[in-house]
Symmetry: C2
Subunit: 393 residues, 2 copies
């Protein structure tokens, strides 16, 4: 474990090198607004920590050519994105480029001890493949609300056994590095902001459709987590007073009507009540139906699958229309495991938002699919921990 | 017109004196984080502008006693809050204390020229009463979206004739002072933050129920206006797909079902279809029914009036529950002309929010009525323009 930056100038240099790559001392001095001599002192201190190294001679700007500097190429971060039914684990360098990425099925209901055993196994595999010797930090996303100051899940509806589990503390012991924990939708937003479709956008929302539905909110370039860390918890907004019961104990919640779990349930119910197309064939073959089956069937032209996606997209679109009216964001990103649903889903959402939200809010509003797919969460997780590691203690 | 501050330290001194009153140079030095000698330079410059004056000797802190400083007591600001059916105009000093306040009925549909003639008459009356010689600035709230950089209303649904009218430019000529324009709900939020129930709260929403319904959003202590200035435009969130047609051209919008205008319409319809209680008597006497009549009748125990308020409060509560799930604010303030509806309305809103939003978001969430009533908007308007006048050009 290396020592970190000791002041705001050093922190800014580290984040500039992370986000924009190697740079000359002269270039950094302009961006940090420090004189050449003062910047040299800060860069030299960062070199002593081992976080920053020289990187060849910079292009000539007249006068003596200086060295470029960059983040140490051997620095490694771990990005972990835990969903209800799968976990993604990736190793990145300090510029958050993904060097290796594993994904495997899990059952979040098995509880944190079992799930983190699997996650640590995946991290060990990535290490064994030569991608990392150790980690300078790890970021972890979980599909529920998090008290982010402590890195602890709080009463997550789809995560029995996780309430209050000290994720940060436990993992930082196992991995021997600093750990930060956040809600998975917040990390997806951070990932899209760092390397995806939201790179130049200061105010946007990122809707993540997985087993449940969550939303990351970015205001003024910063993730907004709310006063108790539950901001973006849109899965339990009521869309039908007489609707399906929900895991949260309420009724008619958005995610009880549209989410990976709801799609699988509705597809199965349709088949069991006599529907005989593509989805019935899939159920007969595999004995189960998932949201991915619905997506594939819709892509193959199956009417029922298309109808399920359109109906769900209408409900989600109504909720997003309300958020757009309320927040007037500059971009809406739709992602998560169910984005295999693709353009049919996007069309339904757009129809609702453009019809229902005020023209002033929708006039220049792009509504787009995630660019990064399953990498958004792990890149966002790595970004979260580098924000911490690259800040003064 | 005095010159303004020339740097961020001077701006901070002015805002501290506005928000916390007279202070010693030593006290200001600590708050601004400047040495005594550097602070003295900034305070002396502010004295040259006339914005700041000496105010007697400060309490002894050992050594030579220094003068307190304060904002010039003769500085005057104008706060204007235009609603659909009434206008409030107030004169404040530089600490935003209301020295005089007039309210009179207007018809916003008569257009900006007619309305601002009335507003300027009201300002002239307040001046004639000796409350001000001239104004160092004026803030103006209007009940619709505003492009705040230019101070221009944008396609406001309940304000025919106002779209694109150069409010800021026209009024700053008439009043011979700087003018800032904002949405009325944003100014209500600013007012409650400055002098009302939200004084110590960094993240809150302020729902304003007037002829229409709007919402001010404060995030990290700053009003959040969205990327095109329409944030908080919740009046057109759909609450009933088969509902009443709305002035915006859509159907089933919140404010078509619950707002001052909707309450008056529903009360009249009930009376015309044969209802014979308190509201019928009021209509017979005055020939018209307003939201205030519904409030008074409910307070007098009228069943229909109580039922109209409860039903409307349920719908508004459902929308607020969604906002609470999404934003996880630290406080919800309910205000505007219709808050005469009072505790019956509040009970309906609370029931919906506490039932529907996640426990983590509602556990410590106060939902309260505005403390300032009709003064919230004018104090917020004065605050808006002092934020500008007390900033470097």
């Amino acid at each position: 474990m290396t020592a970190g930056p000791t002041n705001a100038h050093q922190a800014l240099v580290l984040k500039l090198l992370r986000d924009s790559g190697p740079n000359s001392r002269a270039g950094l001095g302009e961006l940090v607004d420090l004189s050449r001599s003062k910047l040299a002192i800060e860069v030299d201190r960062l070199m002593e920590t081992g976080l920053v190294v020289n990187d060849g001679l910079a292009a000539s700007r007249g006068g003596r050519r200086s060295h470029n500097v960059r983040l140490a190429p051997e620095l490694r971060f771990l990005g972990v994105d835990i969903g209800a039914t799968s976990a993604d684990v990736a190793v990145t360098n300090a510029q958050l480029e993904v060097l290796g990425h594993l994904s495997q099925p899990i059952d979040v209901g098995a509880g944190p001890v079992v799930v983190f055993e699997q996650v640590l196994d995946m991290a060990a595999k990535l290490r064994a493949a030569g991608l990392a010797e150790g980690f300078a930090g790890a970021g972890v996303g979980i599909p529920g609300p998090v008290r982010s100051s402590e890195g602890v899940p709080v009463a997550p509806p789809i995560m029995p056994g996780w309430d209050g589990f000290p994720v940060r503390q436990a993992l930082s012991q196992d991995l021997a590095c600093p750990v930060m924990v956040d809600n998975d939708a917040n990390l997806m937003a951070l990932g899209e902001q760092h390397a995806g479709v939201a790179r130049s956008v200061k105010d946007f929302v990122c809707v993540k459709i997985g087993t449940g539905i969550g939303c990351g909110i970015v205001v003024g370039g910063q993730v907004y987590r709310g006063v108790t860390g539950s901001a973006g918890d849109i899965g339990h907004i009521q869309v039908d007073a007489e609707g399906h019961p929900c895991a949260c104990g309420s009724r008619g919640c958005l995610e009880a009507h549209f989410s990976g779990a709801a799609l699988a349930r509705d597809a199965r119910a349709a088949v069991e009540s006599g529907y005989s197309g593509e989805l019935a064939d899939r159920l007969a073959v595999s004995g189960t139906l998932t949201a991915a089956d619905v997506a594939d069937a819709a892509a193959a032209g199956d009417t029922l699958a298309g109808e399920l996606i359109r109906k769900g997209g209408d409900l989600l679109g109504q909720v997003i229309a309300g958020l757009v009216s309320f927040l007037n964001p500059g971009l809406v990103v739709v992602g998560g495991g169910v984005t295999g649903l693709g353009h049919g889903l996007l069309a339904a959402i757009r129809t609702q938002v453009y019809r229902r939200s005020p023209p002033l809010a929708t006039g220049n509003l792009p509504i787009v699919l995630s660019e990064l797919g399953s990498q958004a969460g792990v890149i966002g997780a790595a970004r979260l921990i580098t924000d911490r590691v690259f800040s003064p203690a």
